[in-house]
């Protein structure tokens, strides 16, 4: 296990040896089986950075993101947020802490309550944390809608009246309502059309610059991650197999899984010759730990 990846920077989020084991029961008499979704994951996110988490479905990236906010209770490990261990917080303290840590979900169709108006949806975190007076909250919702590029006069509408891209904007307005410092963006644009994806990615970056946000950006679109993230970690079967500065990692991947993953992305050049690297899971060294291959570039090789 690595103690600290970048000891010279005080990270905003510091994850150490995080694990999540799901126990599945198969009825009264059958023995329960376990699934290790996240297996001893450690990484740090500096303030203001966009940290990417990539990997195939089932690699544990979503579970990792949810563990950080304790939407899923981790089995083991530590998550320090500004030096405080989130996993040891009392209920009341956790609730306060959650003002600073928010999440944006993948599916803009499923994550908004269809019976609530936009006003209620965006205002809900403010209501729960009893921020300001009713009139102040109303003004804040208008301000938030403007901030995410929506017309505030649409506040009385229902989610179904909006397109996917607009719904993702509503989800973002809700996520930033309490002025968080850290947002877990779990596949925020995967369900959107290509032309709308770019709008939302731009908005995420704008909000980051404006509000000083830090993102954990979970995605399977490698081109998007390469564009949006300063650093990236590659997960495979619950473990981080490679981590480093996005540009260096994409330019010279060290782990065979990362090499295979990157070589599977279709080239945008129709004349390009394909050179695919196929990864053999049998050849994976299960116990290899992350080591620094070049400064700031870690791989489990």
């Amino acid at each position: 296990m690595i103690a600290a990846v970048r000891p010279h920077v005080t990270p905003l989020v510091d994850v150490r040896g995080l694990s999540k084991v799901f126990v599945r029961r198969h009825g009264l008499f059958a023995p329960p089986t376990t699934l290790t979704a996240v297996d001893g994951v450690s990484f740090e996110i500096a303030k203001g950075e966009t940290f990417g988490l990539v990997g195939e479905s089932g690699s544990g990236k979503t579970t990792t993101g949810r563990c950080l906010l304790r939407l899923v209770e981790p089995t083991q490990g530590e998550v320090f947020f500004r030096g405080e261990n989130v996993l040891e917080l009392s209920r009341t303290r956790l609730r306060e802490m959650r003002r600073n840590m928010q999440i944006v979900f993948q599916d803009p169709y499923a994550c908004l309550n269809p019976r609530m108006r936009v006003q209620q949806i965006v205002s809900e975190p403010l209501d729960i944390h009893r921020v300001g007076t009713k009139a102040e909250r109303r003004d804040r919702v208008a301000e938030l809608l403007t901030l995410v590029g929506l017309d505030p006069s649409l506040h009385a509408r229902y989610p179904h009246e909006f397109s996917g891209g607009q719904r993702q904007r509503i989800g973002l307005a809700r996520a930033i309502a309490l002025n968080p410092t850290f947002i877990v963006a779990d596949e925020p644009v995967s369900a959107l059309d290509v032309s709308v994806q770019a709008q939302i990615v731009n908005l995420l970056m704008e909000l980051q610059a404006r509000l000083g946000l830090t993102y954990l950006f979970i995605a399977h679109d490698l081109r998007l991650v390469e564009h949006a993230c300063s650093r990236v970690a590659v997960m495979y079967r619950g473990r981080i197999v490679e981590m480093g500065d996005t540009r260096a990692l994409f330019a010279s991947p060290r782990h065979p899984y990362t090499q295979a993953l990157l070589s599977a992305v279709p080239s945008m050049d129709p004349a390009a010759t394909r050179s695919r690297i196929v990864f053999d899971p049998a050849a994976l060294e299960r116990d290899a730990t992350l080591r620094e291959v070049v400064a700031g570039h870690w791989a489990a090789v």
């Binding site: 195939e56 059309d193 731009n202 390469e226 564009h227 300063s230 945008m268 050049d269």
Partner: protein
């Protein structure tokens, strides 16, 4: 084998949905041709009419959807003029279909071997025992490991990637000449996507299939398609060799869509090019060019006049056609 004579020729296909006494057009004046051994990519965003085009070709459009006009010439016959019996002898036999969501397209209560065999038996090619044997060969051909054992599995016992292979085996069961693949890899991870695309290309080359590949991903088009048709709001806006269209896109929509894709210019954190606004909903497209409200180079006439087809690199084997008023000088 590549022959010059197209296997499939779609001519001015128009289809739509009846709603409240009027027809909402979903696909308008769509024309293209596809030869054996070739791949045509149809690319566009959701709601642009890609899937409706595919369903109309095999006449699987369900009410209130219907084909309004046009011709679908396949192996010398107009499929739109066949009776239902005639159509059944083509659909699933001469034309195989791969759907986006293999979980939804496979029955949960039959083994995958039986589902493949059923396609063979239904088209009267063989009896059940021979069909089951062929099903195992097909599973083998689509690189399902331990095919004989796997044939006895039910769909829920398979991973997403294996299920998509089973779908491909069903599509190939009767030895089709044309395979229509509707977003065959959209639900899959990038490595599985590469596996499935490799497999489809290999099968196409070995069996001389024509492949109609529907996708929203220009990367898939770049890698797999010989020619590409870009659709927007029910119409083809640009059409030509993939190399021409992707290297020198002419339609403002194609240009915008390609520019939206990150990674062309390396530089993290820079603004991505975005196309403002959104795709018009069904029946809401303007009278002129449907892209006009979002177009950065729109002119007055774009709002009212439908742009004609213009050829931008002269008459060739596969002309590069663009439907935009900017190119009217090159009108064909």
């Amino acid at each position: 084998m590549v022959t010059a004579e197209p296997l499939l020729r779609v001519e001015q296909l128009t289809a739509g949905f009846d709603a409240g006494g009027r027809l909402l057009p979903a696909v308008q004046d769509v024309s293209f041709a596809l030869s054996p051994g070739r791949t045509l990519g149809i690319v566009g965003e959701s709601g642009c009419g890609k899937t409706i085009t595919a369903l109309a070709i095999v006449r699987l459009l369900q009410r209130p959807g219907r084909i309004v006009s046009g011709r679908v010439l396949f192996e010398g016959r107009d499929l739109l003029s066949l009776d239902e019996d005639g159509m059944r002898s083509v659909r699933g036999a001469r034309i195989g279909f791969i759907f986006q969501e293999p979980g939804a397209a496979l029955s949960p209560v039959y083994t995958i071997g039986d589902q493949i065999a059923e396609a063979i038996v239904a088209h009267g090619q063989t009896g059940w025992s021979e069909a089951r044997r062929r099903a195992v060969d097909l599973l083998d051909a689509v690189r399902v490991p331990d095919a004989a054992l796997r044939a006895r599995d039910y769909p829920h016992q398979l991973s997403g990637g294996l299920r998509q292979r089973v779908m491909i085996a069903v599509a190939l069961a009767c030895g089709p000449a044309l395979v229509i693949a509707d977003e065959p890899t959209t639900a899959l991870d990038v490595t599985l996507q590469a596996d499935i695309l490799d497999l489809l290309r290999d099968l196409r080359d070995r069996r001389g299939l024509a492949l109609l590949l529907i996708t929203h991903d220009f990367g898939v088009v770049a890698q797999e398609a010989d020619t590409v048709a870009v659709m927007y709001a029910g119409r083809i806006v640009e059409h030509g060799r993939t190399l021409d269209v992707m290297r020198a896109p002419r339609h403002p929509y194609t240009q915008g869509l390609l520019a939206c894709i990150p990674g062309r210019e390396v530089g993290t954190g820079t603004r991505l090019h975005a196309i403002e606004g959104m795709v018009p909903s069904l029946g809401r497209a303007p009278a002129g060019c449907a892209f006009e409200p979002r177009c950065p180079v729109r002119m007055d006439r774009c709002r009212s006049e439908l742009p004609p087809s213009s050829s931008v690199n002269g008459p060739g084997d596969v002309p590069h056609a663009v439907h935009c008023h900017l190119f009217e000088a090159c009108r064909t």
